[in-house]
Amino acid sequence: MSADTTVRPRRNTLRPVWEEQPSLLGQFGKGTILTVVVAVVLVPLWVVVVTSLSSEKTINSAGGYVFIPREFNPSAYVVIFSGGQITDAILVSTIVTVAGTALSLVVTVLAAYGLSRPGTLGHKPILFYFLLTFLIYPGMIPSYLVVTGLGLKDNLLSLILPTAISAFNLVVLRAFFMSIPGELYDSARMDGAGELRILTRIVLPLSKAVTAVVGLFYAVGYWNAFFNAILYIDRNDLQPVQRVLQQFILAGQSPSTSGAAVAIPGLGSSVPPSLAIKMAVVVVTIVPALIIYPFVQRHFTKGVIIGAVKG
């Protein structure tokens, strides 16, 4: 009756010996669910990439979106990278992301280190000052009034400064810094190192992984920022990619009518279809995340997340 009366030659060695063999139905069901889950995430991305690389002929014969790749036609990418509104937007988003992430990381690392030793002067009130941001929100309207009051309208700083500090990231970094053994600090201090030197020579090299994850969170935040651009940016040439994406895909503007994107000398009549251009814009907004993701992915396991939750 029970499973152990029969001989199982192909027993999975990862399965603990006491555990019963799974039913065929159960295994099939699990496999199906996981396949569906993975497909639901990947299929849209696949369709977008394939369509962005298709020519007008393929798109027309498919009646729109293309599922099966038949060619490699990068002309949509040539168009969006050769000037015009989309190129501007990519540039703006890149500048905001790089500059913003650098600023956020420097400021957050400094503060996290400054707060990493309980018992120092003002430690408790300063920590409270940072943690209070979790409870008290600025509110959209006063924020809008302050940022515009500072004259940051149509200034890329308005996309950086208001979101430059995340108390959450600060707490994550601080928790990690505090876990570094105190003897390391002491020995460095014996050798006459100042705080900044200890931070850059000892603490940061030990915290590469967690700093990278925090950097990723900041970078993703800046790259994905959308609403601040609606509030603070009116000029067309300062719009970030997310705004352009929203205009093209959701508000239904055609890329060919906005900006100089299509009137490109040299391409002449072989202007790629607007659907391919739209899809290329989508791909461009995804790609940065895709590039950094594999490098950082292995780090955001339990440690960072749980450590952060516990504060």
Partner: protein, 334 residues
């Protein structure tokens, strides 16, 4: 001995931290300042940024009690000082406005709906994935389902539009097969399902992480012992796996309840035009359209402040409830 004078008191403090037996060394304020000023200085940039872009706007919520007029001073900041104080006038107006209560009800029903149809999904997914033995498959599935968490709402809504919208892949396929495609992206009646599936697509995978960590912390000996006692798969899940997840589930439930008025903002702003105001107006979008688009600054800020205060009350209340259930909650009793 030969250490620089600055280092000496510090060593004492660090030692105190490690071994509590060492008596606290009393230092004067001046001595501590001389010792700690570099650390203090390091906190200053972050504190200034938060002061200007977090706390000053938080104080700016006073305009909820003003008939705020941005043009009475030289700039909007001076207008904070010169605008007329009207007490609770904005709130009175707000509470008499049906559109505001509609947005509150929409928000709360979205929260309730997502507690039912969103909240259990990461848990189920984590339990399922945890039962997969092959580390390769687990790693593969994890890296795929975490990915959409890093996409922007614009991108997620765009992808849904491209797949399910009127000119999207599904409609295209159905039309080619001779069927009339259903309205998915623009139907206000099914909007709740739509936004919940978007939220699931974007964040359910990421939400798994916490549960996976909790599952990994369950002692495998418990499973072995109960299997030896004759418990089958389902019994083990009921008596070991779910109790092992209990405190995490309670914690996240509290956080969600405390956030009951926070259902996201960009997702709704992006789709408000497509499905209409009735279905997509949540408190946050009400604040935006009332305050910034219609320029009724005071009323918008009052709505925002109302939401913030209720949010704090909800967090405190939910935490009390957790303590009553014998769980830790977010902060402990003091």
């Amino acid at each position: 001995m030969s250490a620089p004078p600055v280092a000496e008191p510090r060593t004492a403090v660090t030692a105190k931290k490690k071994a509590k037996a060492v008596p606290r060394q009393q230092l004067s304020f001046g001595q501590r300042l001389r010792r700690d000023w570099p650390l203090l200085l390091m906190c200053v940039p972050a504190m200034v940024l938060l002061l200007v872009f977090h706390y000053v706007p938080a104080l700016g919520n006073v305009i909820a009690f003003q008939d705020y007029n941005p043009f009475v001073g030289d700039d909007p900041l001076e207008a904070f000082l010169y605008s007329e104080w009207i007490g609770f006038g904005n709130f009175e107006y707000l509470f008499k406005t049906q559109a505001f209560w509609d947005s509150v009800i929409t928000t709360l029903s979205i929260t309730a709906f997502q507690l039912l149809f969103y909240f259990p999904i990461p848990i189920a997914l984590a339990v399922l994935l945890n039962s997969i033995l092959s580390p390769k498959i687990r790693a593969l599935v994890q890296s795929v389902v975490y990915l959409p968490h890093f996409f922007s709402w614009v991108l997620v809504v765009s992808l849904f539009q491209m797949m399910l919208g009127g000119a999207g892949l599904l409609a295209q396929t159905l039309r080619q097969a001779g069927y009339t495609p259903p309205e998915i992206m623009t139907n206000p009646d099914t909007f709740m399902f739509l936004i919940t599936s978007q939220a699931v697509w974007k964040d359910a995978g990421w939400g798994m992480i916490v549960f996976l960590a909790a599952l990994a912390a369950i002692d495998p000996a418990l499973y072995e012992a109960s299997a030896a006692d004759g418990a089958g798969r389902w019994r083990r899940m009921w008596h070991i796996t779910l109790p092992g997840l209990r405190s995490v589930i309670v914690l996240l439930l509290i956080l969600r309840l405390g956030d009951a008025l926070n259902v996201g903002f960009e997702q709704f702003v992006l789709q408000r035009e497509m499905v209409g105001r009735e279905a997509a107006e949540v408190v946050d979008t009400y604040v935006y359209y009332q305050g910034i688009a219609v320029q009724q600054w005071g009323v918008g800020a009052a709505a925002g402040l109302f939401k913030a205060v209720v949010g704090i009350l909800l967090i405190v209340g939910a935490n009390k409830m957790a303590h009553r259930f014998g769980e830790q909650g977010i902060y402990s009793k003091s």
